[in-house]
């Protein structure tokens, strides 16, 4: 999967292909294999100090570095977009250290590293999603001690989580968790899906893609293998539901995608646009036009639509 290859120039000492040394990659792959074998179980791993800040995607970066090879095509998104600063920074990291072929097209990517979103376009068999995870422990806000939460998972003692959801409903009439909404994986482990909006949770269910989760600072790896049940926790009389908007995307007219709110003036003006920038661009290229596309184009707020 990977080759020994060094990225060198005259002045810098050589780093291994994809930055990590091969021993470390092997250690991470072992953790990944274990994670795939026990869906939703958090596998401790010897997370390395990375040249990027902890909490800025070092878990996802280590997972990607351990699985990427010269045949791969990498897509990196943050908030659904390829051009957010941290996504740009991580993509540059792999372009530099792994000579990676990168893309913005979801269907062309073999590895998609993400923070906070799952692309709108359905994933395919053979694709790998790599999630950056800040807090791998779904029970952490209920129980701060790691020694305790590990026991709760071992005994599948998830009553506390159900009580928390119930209390939400009792107070607000619904579950108020909007992202990092807990899921039950393969009927066994409660898992943090990472801070994706709950809108994206249904995309994990029986996904044909392999889903890998890396938490660098917390030193945990977990996984959802393809075609695995991922159920968002709920109650029979309060079924799980996702976000919806009253208007479609202002640029591409999509009515079924996750929208970001953009403040356009200080008079309360808002526009809602697809968070998945590639999805939005693809739809526009296909001729879909949202209500505010002409305005945005005239102001050069999106790339010129007339361009071939």
């Amino acid at each position: 999967m990977t080759v020994h290859q060094s990225i060198t120039d005259e002045t810098r000492p050589a780093y291994n292909y994809a930055y990590l040394d091969e021993q470390t990659k092997r250690m991470i792959r072992r953790a990944l294999l274990k994670a795939v074998a026990i869906p939703g179980y958090q596998v401790p791993f010897g997370s390395r100090e990375m040249p990027l800040a902890r909490g800025w995607g070092t878990g996802g970066i280590q997972v990607t570095a351990a699985i990427i090879g010269p045949d791969d095509t990498l897509k990196v998104i943050d908030q659904g977009a390829d051009d957010t600063t941290n996504a740009v920074s991580i993509r540059r990291f792999f372009e530099r250290t792994a000579d990676a072929r990168t893309t913005e097209a979801t269907d062309e990517a073999t590895i998609i590293q993400t923070r906070h979103r799952i692309p709108e376009a359905p994933l395919k068999a053979g694709q790998i999603m790599v999630y950056q995870v800040p807090q791998p422990e779904p029970l952490r806000k209920l129980e701060p001690r790691e020694a305790e939460t590990r026991k709760m998972h071992a005994w599948a003692e998830y009553g506390l989580m159900q009580v928390k959801l119930y209390e939400n409903i009792a107070r607000f009439g619904e579950v108020t968790t909007t992202y990092d909404y807990p899921v039950m994986v393969n009927g066994r482990y409660v898992m943090a899906p990472s801070p994706i909006p709950k809108f994206d949770n249904p995309k994990m269910q029986m996904s044909p893609a392999l889903q890998l989760f890396g938490a660098g600072r917390e030193k945990r790896i977990y996984a959802v293998p393809p075609h695995t049940s991922v159920r968002s926790l709920d109650f029979d009389d309060h079924p799980f539901r996702i976000q919806s908007w009253e208007q479609p995307c202002a640029l591409c007219g999509a009515a079924d995608s996750y929208l970001d709110e953009v403040v356009i003036d200080d008079q309360g003006g808002r526009m809602f646009v697809c968070s998945d920038s590639h999805h939005c661009e693809t739809r526009r290229a296909d001729g879909h036009r949202g209500a505010m596309l002409a305005d945005a184009s005239a102001l050069h707020l999106v790339e010129d639509e007339a361009k071939p």
């Binding site: 100090e49 902890r54 740009v88 909007t178």
Partner: protein, 394 residues
Amino acid sequence: MYVAVKGGEAAILATHDLVAEARRGDESVPELAVAQIREQMGLACGRVMNEGSLYDPDLAALALKQAQGDAIEAAFLMRAYRTTLPRFGSSEPLDTATMAIRRRVSATYKDLPGGQVLGPTYDYTHRLFDFSLMDSPDVMVGLDPTISGQEGASRATAAGDARVKPEHDVKPLDSHMPRVPDILGAEGLMEEEAPPEGDPRPFDLTREPVTFPADRDVRLQAMARGDEGFMLGLGYSVQRGYGNSHPFVGEIRVGEVAVEFVPEELGFAVDLGDITLTECQMVNQFAGSKEVPPQFTRGYGLSFGHSERKAMSMSLVDRALKCRELGEAATYPAQQDEFVLYHSDNVEAAGFVEHLKLPHYVDFQGELELIRRIRKEREKRLAEQQEALPEAAE
């Protein structure tokens, strides 16, 4: 206004240029040499080596230069470099009893073999500015009399160079400087600390994930690289009220210790060089138990360079964390290994705290959608109640 325009990459590159410019500052002021930082900012370099977990004064100085003196950023640079270095083995255990002493003080005895050696310490300086340091950048000005406490010392020494040691310091130190806890130990009054069976190689938390409850080798390693400010605050907390610690400084010693390594192919120890260390051993009360007669317990701190505050703080927290082994209730933050170990790592802490400035608008949109909907439903409900009320009054 709208971020769909792709400028992220260019903007990031521009920040690199701007930070280089900010780092250099006014170009009419001469640039700092790494050697100057190493020699004249030694305590800062020590902190960077500790929190970067790498003993290399040159790289620590380079890190400080590159990071504009930001200690955490400098420690981050050290760690990101350290992680790429090959591990070729573990050294022999260091013997701090054979330390070439620069400073050694004990609070538990008035005098002891080897004596009290004050060495280079700010302890008895009056914190008055030495403005002569400001005026003459090219002249090697030593300690001012107000700082050294030696009235007239600078006058008494040649060419006014107060760096020349006062006469009583020139006397060679005793070659034998037993560690105070060893003196107590010989009497059986000090908690004995033998290595675990087989003296295994200590845990390396930079290569393996930590599990809890954490053993002492893990705790000490985590604290040695922990943030000085955090360790200081925790140490203070056990002294002040969140813990019942009332320890005595058995000994603080600062000096050089040889690092020895046994290469497999040679089979005997080779001296790799000396490193500067600060060691602090606190003597704490302990009432004893049914099995153990009353004895003192130890809090241990060890740090690179001359960093007493760090070593002392560490030794306070080390003792607090021993509560499980000593059968004490863990009721204070400093006694909880998960709390101390997870939160003392400043590179991790800084990363996670500062990640909050990354875009979070997708999740925030989820919150906005929820709060707007709940408010709308609430207004609807209140309006319905308002309509219902006048009828009820009739």
